[in-house]
C-alpha cells in the first residue's frame, strides 16, 4: 500500500520538478544569448519562456524586463517604449518601479526631456519612499533644466542642494540656469529695424560686423547705382537696379533678424552644454543598475 502511495506521489510530483528544470533551462539559454549580444535571438527565447510561463509573476516580470533590455540594446525605441508602458501598467511593484525609472533614463538619453521629466515625476509620486527617489528628483530637475524650466529645477533640487551626492551638481546646474535667464540675448526686432535704417547695422548689433560691412557695401553700391541711373534719366536701368536692390535690402533685414536668432541660439546652446557637463548621469546610472541587479539576474550556467 505504502509503495502505491509513494508511486502516486512521485508520479504527481514528477511533472512539477521536470517543468521547473525546463524553466531554468529556457531562461538560461536566453540569458546566454543576451550576454553574447545576440538580442534578436534572445527576444525569441524570452518570448518562448513568457509563453510557457503563462504570465506567472515574478518570473514573467523578470523576463519582461529582459525583453525590454533586448529591444533597448537593439535601438528599437518605439517597441521599448510600448513594452515599458505595458510593464508600468501590468507588472508587479518591482517591475513597475524599474520600468518607470528606465523610461525616464531612456527618454533623457534620447533628448526627450519633457517626457523624461514627466517620467521622473511619476516615479516620485508612485514611490516616494524608495531608495531611488532622490535620483528621480535629481533627474527630474536636470531634465527640466534642459528645457529651461527653471522653476521645476529649483523645486526639484531644493532638498538635494545641501546634502548627498548630487549637492555640487545641483548648485552648478542652478548657476547655469541663472546665466540662461540673464542671457545677453539680442532682440530680433531691434536688429531688423537697425538694418532697415542703415543696412548692415543690425548684423553689427548681433556681433557680425563683417557681415554688416558687406551688407552695407552691397546695398550702398546698388542703391547708389540705382540713384545715379534715375538722375541720368535711365529709368529702365534704374528700375532693374532698383528691383535688384529691393531684394538685397529685404534680404539684409531678414539676415539681421536671423543673425539675432542665431546669436541667441548659440548662447543658449553653450549654456545647455554647460548644464550637460554638470550632470552626474553616470552616478544615476550606476545606482539604478545596482537596483536592477537586485531585480534581474542573468543565469548563464556559470559561463
Amino acid at each position: 500500500m505504502r509503495v502505491v502511495v509513494l508511486l502516486c506521489a512521485f508520479t504527481a510530483l514528477f511533472p512539477i520538478v521536470a517543468s521547473g528544470e525546463e524553466k531554468q533551462a529556457g531562461t538560461g539559454f536566453a540569458d546566454y544569448l543576451f550576454k553574447k549580444g545576440e538580442f534578436d535571438r534572445a527576444i525569441t527565447e524570452y518570448e518562448r519562456v513568457l509563453y510557457e510561463e503563462h504570465g506567472t509573476q515574478p518570473i514573467s516580470d523578470e523576463v519582461q524586463y529582459k525583453l525590454i533590455l533586448c529591444y533597448k540594446q537593439l535601438g528599437q525605441s518605439e517597441k521599448t517604449n510600448i513594452l515599458l508602458e505595458q510593464a508600468i501598467d501590468h507588472g508587479g511593484a518591482s517591475l513597475r518601479k524599474i520600468s518607470l525609472f528606465e523610461g525616464g533614463l531612456l527618454h533623457y538619453e534620447e533628448g526627450r526631456y519633457a517626457v523624461a521629466a514627466e517620467d521622473f515625476k511619476a516615479f516620485q509620486d508612485s514611490f516616494p519612499g524608495d531608495t531611488l527617489v532622490d535620483d528621480a528628483r535629481y533627474m527630474r530637475g536636470v531634465s527640466a533644466a534642459m528645457i529651461g524650466e527653471a522653476d521645476v529645477t529649483h523645486n526639484s533640487f531644493q532638498s538635494l542642494r545641501d546634502r548627498g551626492i548630487y549637492s555640487s551638481s545641483s548648485i552648478d546646474i542652478e548657476k547655469e540656469l541663472v546665466e540662461l535667464e540673464a542671457l545677453p540675448s539680442k532682440s530680433r526686432a531691434v536688429a531688423g529695424i537697425l538694418s532697415a535704417v542703415v543696412p548692415g547695422a543690425g548684423q553689427c548689433y548681433t556681433g557680425r560686423c563683417l557681415d554688416g560691412a558687406s551688407a552695407l557695401l552691397v546695398n550702398g553700391t546698388l542703391g547708389g547705382l540705382t540713384a545715379a541711373a534715375f538722375i541720368n534719366k535711365e529709368r529702365v536701368l534704374g528700375g532693374i537696379l532698383g528691383f535688384i536692390e529691393s531684394w538685397f535690402y529685404l534680404g539684409n533685414i531678414y539676415g539681421a533678424r536671423s543673425a539675432a536668432y542665431k546669436h541667441n541660439q548659440h548662447l543658449k546652446a553653450s549654456i545647455m552644454e554647460g548644464i550637460a557637463r554638470h550632470v552626474h548621469f553616470d552616478i544615476v546610472n550606476d545606482r539604478f543598475s545596482s537596483q536592477v541587479g537586485a531585480f534581474v539576474t542573468f543565469d548563464v550556467g556559470g559561463s
Binding site: 505595458q86 508600468i88 501598467d89 519633457a114 517626457v115 514627466e118 522653476d151
Partner: protein, 271 residues
Amino acid sequence: MFQRGVARATLLLTIMAGMSIAPRVCKGDALPVLSAREIIEKVTLTYDAVQTIQGRFVRDSIVGDETQRVIGTFIFKKPDRVIIHNLEPREQDVTSNGQMLWLYDKKDHLASQLTIPPGNEAIKDQVGIGALFAFNPFFQMGHGYSCRRIDDFDKHIVIACKPNSRSASISRVLVKVNPARWTVAAYEIFDISGGLISQTKYEDMQPIQGASWFPFRVETKLQGNGKRFSEIVRYSRITINGLVDDKQFEFSTPKGVRVLDKNNSINQVTK
C-alpha cells in the same frame, strides 16, 4: 447483477457528460434578449460609473504617408473638466473647467483663454478633447437619434441609430456593443448616400483596478472628399475614479506669460 452495474455506470456517465456539456449549451452564443433602449441604458450605466480618468496617451494622426505624433498626459473629470498636458512635439497645456478653456504654450510664454458657449462641442473637438474621450457614442448622440437593435454580429449586439432630423448629413450610426461588459466595441457613421464617413474601434480592453474596462487602443478612420485620415490613440498609466481636485482645472497664469483673451482680443501680461 453485472447488467445492473453496467446500466448504473452508463447512467452515471451520461449524467456527468450532461453536467459538463450543459453549461456550454445553456450559455451558448445566444446574446441577451433586450431592446435597444435597455441596451443603451446598460451601456450608459457602465460609462456613468466612471467619474474621473487620468493617464498618458500617444496619439498618431495619419494623413497619407505622414504621421504626426502627440504624447501627453491627461486628467478628465465629468462632466467637462479637462487638463491635457502635451509633452511632445511641443509642450502645451489645454485646461478647461467646463465654462472656460485655456491653451498655454510654454515655449512661446503665451496663453489664450476663451469662453465655451453652452453645448458647443466643436471647440472641444478642435483642441482634441472630443477625440480623446469619445468612448460612448450614445452619449454624444443624445436624444436626437432613434435606435433599434439589428442583427447580432461576432458575439456583439449591433444597434442602428438614425437621426430624427431630416437635415442631418448623417444617415445612420451603427454601434457594436459587447454584452459581456456592456461597453462599446466599435461604431460606424454613414452619410446620407450610405457611404462610410468614419469608423472607430475600441481595442485592447483591459480592466482597471479590477472594475471598469478601458480601451487601451482606440483607432478612428475618417473618409471624405477622397481623402483618408486615421488616428490611433494608445493609452497607458490609467487611473479611474482617483481623487481629483476641482481647483486643478482653474488655470493659473505662470509668471511673465502673455494672455490673449480670444473673446475680447485683450492682451495682458502677468507680472
